[in-house]
């Protein structure tokens, strides 16, 4: 850390102002309390204060050198006592030498100068203590600021890392199975094969383009989800149906990107893949108090023995929501008999 008295303009001006006031105060004391004439009082006050002002800037280095991290408190205390005596001593010696030369004719003044030596020495020590205290406060304050800055940098780094870890990834089996469907359609229905190829490409492009840390409009997220469902629809034909019920005010609302997709995938995976009956996947959105509530709902076969590893997608969404909104309980899962429903609450900002 560089010396704030020389590198920071504001600090230097404050410092100089303080000395200017001391300079004025000392003139007052000399003239009105000690009955010294204005001219010698002015010279006296100027020499003492200007000199200490210069010496005082140097005290910074004794403070930097005696940081609490490197030395014990006792050692620092002793160092400062020695430094205080030396500083005050030099200050007095030089000042008195100069004043002796300049005001050699004024015997009354010189008498006062010698008589006040002890008091001036004690005053010099006091100033030293004040300056040291100020310097320590400055160092402490700077360290604190640095720490706060570093901490917030670290926090945002951690957040980014965590969000990256929760990144959505396209299920490779979905892609391979879709490609298999396309392969089959090229034989039986080339037009459909083309349609599916284009849908699969659009879906992949939309997921690849998205930045996980960004938000996008609900309507865009739903459109991407629909592409996905359309593709699954080609694979599974009549095995499921998608219904949406969106309030108008929802469509333009912003949500974290790729937060709906895993829910659609869950509905397909645990609903459609495992069930022999038709599955209805329902998406709805509306306002609820100060939240937008988005729900994805599907029926499932309650007799299907659940596989483990469920809920990783859900857990990821939960963690992402928590990181983004800094709030718990934004995801709510309801499981009833043969109905599975996930509610997402987006705080209205």
């Amino acid at each position: 850390m560089t010396n704030p008295f020389t590198s920071n303009k504001k600090v230097f001006i404050t410092y100089a102002l303080m000395w200017f006031f001391l300079f004025l105060a000392q003139i007052n004391v000399l003239v009105f309390a000690m009955n010294i004439k204005l001219y010698p009082a002015l010279i006296d006050s100027f020499v003492f204060n200007a000199l200490y002002m210069i010496l005082g800037i140097g005290i910074w280095y004794t403070v930097r050198f005696n940081s609490l991290e490197n030395y014990s408190a006792v050692k620092i205390f002793l160092n400062h006592i020695v430094a205080a005596v030396i500083t005050a001593g030099i200050w007095l010696a030089i000042s008195e030498f100069i004043l002796n030369q300049v005001l050699v004719a004024d015997q009354k003044y010189l008498g006062l100068l010698y008589n006040s030596t002890v008091w001036r020495f004690l005053f010099g020590i006091l100033i030293y203590i004040v300056l040291v205290a100020v310097d320590y406060v400055i160092i402490y304050y700077n360290n604190f600021q640095e720490k706060v800055l570093k901490e917030s940098e670290l926090k945002s780094l951690v957040k980014e890392a965590e969000l990256n870890a929760l990144k959505y990834q396209i299920n490779p089996h979905f892609i391979f199975n879709s490609l298999n469907s396309i392969s089959s359609l090229t034989l039986s229905n080339p037009a459909r094969a083309q349609e599916m190829t284009i849908k699969l490409s659009s879906f992949m492009r939309s997921t690849l383009a998205k930045n996980e840390n960004q938000k996008s409009k609900l309507i865009d997220e739903i459109n991407a989800g629909k592409l996905y469902l359309d593709i699954e629809k080609i694979r599974f034909e009549d095995k499921f149906e998608f219904i949406e019920d969106l309030k108008l005010e929802c469509k333009e609302m912003e949500i974290p990107s790729m937060i709906l997709q895993p829910l659609f995938e869950n509905a397909i995976k645990h609903g459609v893949y495992e069930s022999l009956e038709k599955v209805i996947i329902k998406l709805s959105c509306g306002m609820e108090k100060e939240y937008f509530k988005i729900s994805v709902e599907n029926n499932f076969d309650p007799e299907a023995v659940p596989r483990k590893g469920n809920g990783i997608g859900l857990k990821n969404i939960q963690n992402r929501m928590k990181l983004i909104y800094n709030q718990d309980n934004l995801i709510q899962v309801e499981k009833r008999q043969n109905n599975f429903c996930v509610n997402i609450y987006i705080p209205v900002s």
Binding site: F176, N180, S183, S184, Y273, V305
Partner: protein
């Protein structure tokens, strides 16, 4: 020579279609049925006794692997799947064949030729099947559910419902919350395929679910037994006791 009677079991219409389209061009093969899930698949195999089955792995009700466990005299199987983690293992153990979706017609014919060879040299079938079931056991993941047949009914039990397993000669008896049943699997199979953090081989003849242990009791010097939630007592071997102690710690 008779035609090779073939069935396709896959939950996706389009996946079945492409196999059908390829098969149609071959005179030697006759498609005699299709199924869209594990339950129907077993029934179809038992009813029609096919020579060759194209079998998907991920399906509703039962997976392809689970189906195989429940069929007494399985036909030659060609797996068709998008899951390459199983397929890679398949090549390690030299399985009949594994078709990774999507597959080319040439690759399909290759698989068909292998199957034909096996079917014409009768004795090899059983060996091939062995390697295939072994494959199912090679999966990295631990068992999640166990299937068994009682009469005509097929039951799927989540492993969480197993209380303990007892050795019965070459078979094992599973004591579950939904009753007891005999499984044609060895203790070693269960020891290797159940999550060792949950299931513990406490004795040569017993594997116990940790959640089902109520307490461990000193019987006599250096001899212990566990008491289960329902009060039943099972012996614990010396090495079994070490394992329990470590896990419960």
């Amino acid at each position: 020579m008779d035609k090779i009677r073939t069935i396709i079991i896959d939950d996706e219409q389009l996946a079945r279609d492409i196999i059908k389209a390829y098969l149609k061009k071959l005179d030697k093969f006759e498609l005699i049925g299709e199924a869209t899930n594990g339950f129907d698949g077993i029934k179809l195999i038992n009813d029609t006794k096919p020579n060759l089955v194209f079998l998907d792995i991920q399906m509703p009700k039962l997976t392809g692997f689970e189906m195989l466990e429940l069929i007494e005299e399985p036909p030659v199987i060609i797996f068709t799947t998008a899951f390459d983690q199983y397929a890679l293992k398949a090549f390690e153990v030299n399985a009949t064949d594994y078709l990774l979706k999507p597959f080319a017609e040439e690759r399909f014919l290759e698989a068909i030729n292998k199957a034909e060879k096996i079917l014409t040299s009768e004795s090899e079938i059983k060996n091939k099947f062995k390697s295939l079931t072994k494959l199912a056991e090679l999966k990295n993941e631990f068992l999640e559910r166990v299937v068994y047949k009682s009469g005509q009914k097929i039951n799927v039990i989540p492993v969480d419902d197993i209380n303990y397993i007892e050795a019965q000669d070459d078979y094992t008896m599973l004591y579950t919350r939904k009753g007891n049943f005999l499984k044609q699997k060895t203790m070693k199979y269960f020891e290797e395929n159940l999550d060792p953090n949950v299931f513990l081989r406490i004795h040569r003849s017993f594997i116990v679910s940790l959640t089902n242990i109520k307490q461990i009791e000193l019987l006599e010097k250096e001899s212990y037994q566990v008491i289960l939630q329902d009060g039943k007592k099972l012996p614990v071997s010396k090495s079994g006791y070490q394992k329990v102690k470590e896990l419960i710690k």
